[in-house]
């Protein structure tokens, strides 16, 4: 290699680098990079964990509209989470939606937080969730008030009627049945909508229904412990002893069913604002609801021997127009000894409504008994009366019948029998029966026979008039004269001037037609007379034809 030597020479001529101060910094500083990235990575991880919200599970009947990664969870239309998975639960009965929510929402995940699926739906005359047609269904949330945290929920199948932050209060009503009420049915106060029925459920014992109603804010103050809730669904048509009563709250309640509440005047009762725990009854109708709750009940039995058809439990017991009690039960008993059927009617008398002037005396049972004894002694009796002729409903009236037989009270029996007196209806029936008997006794047959005879002769007369009026003038005139004479005698004189005129005309015509009469000399006047007579006669005939009764009754002034 020839160039080896010059290479070595050249290497010797290579410049020397300028010296660099020694530094270990670069070696140290490079480790800052992983440290910084570890810090950044750690910070990102911590941030991600901190920002990660709670994960919840909500079960639904079906997964319609639920899609993992798509369906959102919204509170007041603000997105607060996303469904991450939709699965079936173990027994395949429900679907489980797992959703991740934003962190801020975790304090609101409590026991009574409610979830439901918002889908477009039409119910109870309202359309809701229309926006979901475009954006897809989502899970709606209503926050609860409980303090107990919770992460798994049973979703509602229908959106709740009122959200928890709606100002107002919920009340619980007990009812015998649901009638036509549904969730969402309106609640009225003075015919204004004051709230809604939020839910209902059958009682555990199956003996009634418990309804929850929500009364909105300005109305809630009118719900007191004395408030009565009653069914205001549709038209309340009542047929009872007082006639027909029609009640209706609104067209809406006619369609959807509804409840109304009213607070009757507090008769000195202590009235406080009702709370959610206050027990309320749902009365079937307004009249029932506004009846005074009578606590001081006196039970009596009324024994009637007459028919109680038209008397129903709930019928009023009335004292001169004041309802003082009601019929509780009606039975029919056969006395085994006598075989006689009696009808005991149980009544409740509200003692409060027949307050004594001296209340102390009324409180003591003996005093009350003595008082009632005195009243009965004066003739106090119970009587069945017809409340409404239209409906035939009966009520029990208490009144004084001083002529009534003495009937001592037997306080030993429970319930005590209060004496009765035959009802006004019975009296009426008796009166009608006697009238009927009188009518029965009338000689109707004879009257009819007489009338028939009368009619027969009239008929004959008329027929004679018919047949004997012939075109033969002379004969006719004679017959007419005869007829008129007969009419004159046979028919009442009131046949009228017409007959007189006719007879005159006939007589003169007759005379003039005689051969020896001067009629030939004055044919014209004769003819005029005949014409007159014929005219008068025709009028009579016409008249009789139209009014054959004139033969009997005479000519009426106003008839043409």
């Amino acid at each position: 290699m020839a160039e080896h030597t010059p290479e070595s020479d050249n290497l010797d001529r290579v410049a020397t680098a300028r010296e660099q101060p020694k530094s270990r910094w670069s070696f140290q500083i490079v480790w800052l990079i992983p440290i910084v990235s570890a810090l950044i990575g750690g910070w990102l991880a911590v941030k991600a964990i901190m920002e990660r919200g709670p994960t919840i599970t909500v079960t639904f009947q079906n997964a319609e509209g639920l899609e993992a990664g798509k369906t959102k969870v919204k509170y007041k239309d603000v997105e607060i989470g996303m469904v991450k998975a939709v699965t079936l639960d173990k027994d395949l009965k429900r679907v489980v939606a797992t959703a991740e929510l934003v962190k801020d929402f975790s304090p609101h995940l409590v026991e009574d937080t409610r979830f439901w699926v918002v889908r477009p739906r039409i119910s109870g005359g309202t359309v809701s969730g229309l926006s979901t047609l475009l954006s897809g269904s989502y899970i709606g949330v209503d926050t609860g008030k409980s303090n107990k945290h919770r992460a798994s929920f049973a979703g509602l199948e229908t959106p709740p009627i009122v959200t928890i932050d709606t100002p107002g209060r919920e009340f619980t009503l007990r009812s015998h049945n649901l009638a036509s009420i549904d969730s969402g049915s309106p609640v009225f106060f003075r015919k204004l909508q004051a709230g809604q029925v939020t839910s209902y459920q059958l009682d555990k014992d199956g003996k009634g229904v418990t309804l929850k109603v929500f009364v909105n804010e300005p109305f809630v103050q009118f719900v007191t412990t004395n408030t009565r809730f009653f069914n205001a669904s549709g038209v309340d048509l009542k047929l009872d002893a007082s006639g027909i009563e029609v009640q209706m709250q609104s067209v809406v309640s006619l369609l959807l069913g509804g409840i109304a509440f009213e607070t009757p005047d507090d008769n000195g009762r202590v009235v406080t604002a009702a709370t959610t725990e206050t027990p309320f009854r749902l009365y079937p109708n307004r009249a029932e609801a506004l009846k005074n709750p009578d606590t001081d009940l006196a039970k009596f039995v009324l024994v009637f021997s007459e028919s109680v058809r038209g008397l129903a439990p709930g019928a009023p017991v009335d004292f001169r127009g004041v309802v003082v009690g009601e019929v509780v039960a009606i039975r029919a008993d056969i006395d085994p000894k006598t075989g006689q059927i009696i009808i005991p009617v149980d009544v409740n008398i509200y003692a409060e409504r027949m307050r004594l002037r001296s209340r102390i005396a009324a409180k003591a049972p003996e005093a009350r008994q003595a008082f009632i004894d005195r009243l009965v002694d004066k003739g106090l009796r119970a009587q069945l009366r017809t409340g409404s002729l239209l409906t035939g409903q009966l009520y029990v009236a208490l009144d004084f019948f001083p002529q009534a037989k003495k009937a001592p009270m037997n306080w030993a029996a429970t319930p005590t029998v209060l004496p009765t007196t035959p009802g006004a209806r019975q009296e009426l029936q008796q009166a009608i029966a006697s009238v009927a008997a009188k009518i029965d006794r009338l000689p109707l047959d004879e009257i009819a026979r007489d009338a028939r005879t009368m009619m027969g002769s009239a008929d004959k007369l008329i027929r004679r008039v018919d047949t004997e009026v012939t075109p033969d003038l002379r004969q006719t005139l004679q017959s007419g004269t005869r007829l008129l004479q007969r009419v004159d005698v046979e028919v009442v004189p009131e046949a009228g001037q017409m007959i007189v005129d006719a007879r005159k005309a006939l007589v003169s015509a007759d005379r003039m037609l005689a051969s020896e009469s001067p009629i030939q000399q004055d044919a014209r006047s004769t003819m005029r007379e005949v014409q007159k007579a014929a005219h008068a006669f025709r009028m009579l005939a016409d008249y009789l034809e139209r009014n054959p009764s004139a033969l009997l009754m005479g000519k009426k002034e106003d008839t043409p």
């Binding site: 680098a17 990235s37 950044i40 897809g136």
Partner: protein
């Protein structure tokens, strides 16, 4: 290529990184400043192995959030959505865009990871003064360096989308925290590849004259 050939290192010479001038270090020194242009001169990239390790560790650390955290937050009238790289890949795959899903997956998940593993392998082998397959390892290094600047396509896509889709009322797209981590991983692996000195692959093959060092 043979071990018998002379190298600057063996002759005690350093080349200037900037102007290529050869110079010998001052006596007792292993580096210096270029006598011609003043740039720093070394026999080998200083602290190459340590630096590469540091940068690799940093990129591994950031690789995790880059893949776990949302990389893109998009919101439109139909709601908002956050996507991680993998959720995007899954979405593309499920919606039938398999080629695109594969491209994004390879460019964003496989390549950075492969790069990190390759560099770690090279660095380890150099550190252990391995003499195994130097040519293949050098070739691997060239591939790593070449691919480096083209990886993480989605960062560029997101950058473009963020710039383009800002129709405030209708739809917006924002880069998520993972985008930052991803960009950092890209930069860190590139720097790590740069800080690795491929000449170190060959050094153990030369006769050790006592001047070699890491």
């Amino acid at each position: 290529m043979s071990a018998t050939g002379a190298s600057a290192y063996r002759l005690g010479l350093m080349a200037c990184h900037t102007c290529g001038k050869l110079a010998r270090p001052a006596p007792g020194a292993h580096e210096g400043w270029c006598p011609r242009c003043g740039a720093s001169m070394h026999f080998r990239k200083p602290n190459s192995i340590t630096r590469t390790w540091a940068l690799l560790i940093a990129s591994v650390i950031l690789y995790i959030p880059a893949n776990v955290l949302p990389v893109m937050e998009s919101s439109s009238i139909l709601g908002s959505q956050t996507d991680t790289i993998m959720s995007g890949v899954v979405y593309l795959w499920v919606s039938g865009s398999w080629p695109l899903a594969i491209v994004v997956f390879v460019a964003s998940v496989v390549v950075p990871l492969a790069k990190i593993i390759a560099l770690a392998f090279l660095n380890t082998s150099v550190q252990m003064r391995s003499t195994w397959q130097p040519v293949q390892r050098t070739r691997l290094y060239r591939v790593v360096e070449l691919v480096g600047r083209w990886s993480m396509l989605d960062i560029y896509v997101i950058a473009l989308l963020v710039a383009l889709v800002q129709l405030k009322a209708v739809a917006t797209i924002n880069a998520g925290p993972a985008a930052l981590a991803f960009a950092a991983v890209v930069v860190l692996t590139m720097v790590a590849a740069m800080s690795f000195d491929p000449r170190l692959i060959w050094d153990p093959l030369e006769n050790n004259d006592g001047r070699a060092h890491a």
